[in-house]
Amino acid sequence: MRIKINKKRPRIKINRRKGNGKGTGTEEYIPAEAMTAEAMSQCALDLDLIPDIMVRLPVKSLLRFRGVCKFGWWFISSPVFMKMHFDRFCADPNNEWFIIECLSPLLHHTFTVFNIESEEPPRELVPPSPASFYEMHLVGSCYGMVCLASDDDGIVLWNPALNMWKFVEVSHVSPEWVSYGFGYDSKASDFKVVRILYLMGRKHKKMWEKYRTRGYKITVQVYSANSNSWTTLKVDFLYKVSPNRNDVILHGNPYWLATIHGNEAVMYLVWFDVSESAFKTVSLSSLNLEKEATVDFVDFNGDLAAIVHDESDEGEFKTIDFWVYDNVELMWRHNYNPRAIDREVDFVCFSKNGKWLDSSHLETCLCLIQRLDL
């Protein structure tokens, strides 16, 4: 995929080649004020090379080079270029940024970003609206966007690289509890937020009589960033998921550990396919989970993986098992041998090149550590 700048007729065009050799293009016109003869006439950099060099620069450099000249400001800010840069960096295996959520002594949620491949120190993110942001917890992050949520206030979609954010209100229905999921539909280039609401049955007596569940009426709402609207999903959702947030986001789809009402001994992994707007399940039977075991799910280089902690009677972690889900055979495969560890391990995360990161790597008290594409 190449961006071409047409010097004779001022517009830029992305060419995507189909299998038959014919190209399809997206075009954008360069505004006159960006193509000033004075600035670019002496420019030693051929316009043909500008896109291919710029697309390789990190966000920090691009934000700075916007100030080089008006053409640079327009070009770097153009949606065509931003999408191309975004797609390229999301796919880059060396893009090793992480976002960490911590609870301060005042119980404020603070956020830090760091790059494990860089020598730059971790940088604390300053949200634009601290008063409300500090009450919000991290739902997750994918494709460069971070989702924060607060049951009382709403949700926020936040791009830390550009420090741009969008606040979205939620319907106030006083749920018993709620769980959020965050995802990205790459087909529609749309960020989605899933809100699963558990409303107490006795407050909705007629509903309780109709559903005969354990007193919960479950409503699922989905927010689309492109249309900036919520839709209530017409679906029979019978699962009880972890409160607050999804357990992992994989390929832009949120996953929750869940049980079914009425049979809470059996656990499932429920996930929301953002492209199809449908819930699907992953069986956990081949994990052979013990009753007291706790399990964390992680993205292991694009595969779904489970870290099973087996606790001793004193509540200390005894052994740790690592499993990876085989999408073809539809079963979990044991990856590492069980090993005894002498420390408590929280919130494991993997980098794109398979490095293991957990709370012991950092000195602060963590709530969550997630990979972030910047």
Binding site: T36, C43, L49, D52, K60, R64, C69, W73, E120
Partner: protein, 117 residues
Amino acid sequence: MIPLPLIDGRTLARVITYLNKHTEDDASDEAKRKFDEEFLYGMEVGVLYDAALAANYLDIGGLFHEVCQRIADGMMNKSVEWVRKTFHIESEFTSEEEVQIKKEYAWAWEGVDSNAD
């Protein structure tokens, strides 16, 4: 004889060296990567830039991407003034506008190479 008006002799010689290595029958990918590393090491931005133009004109994808990456790596930490000076770009921004642009994403100016080079 095929005239190539956009490429000077020295650049063309470099491109031919690159092509000779990359079309060798028994050269492994690892050997090619090692060759690229040594071949392009230490090249100045101006020389890389000529090579990129040549590779673009002759449609040599591998060389083009490699050289563009090198140019990007070379300019990544440079200042706005360095970019303007190296590529002879005039700025139409007023000083107030420049201050505003810098203020918007002040963190992007941290850790930038000094203009001594």
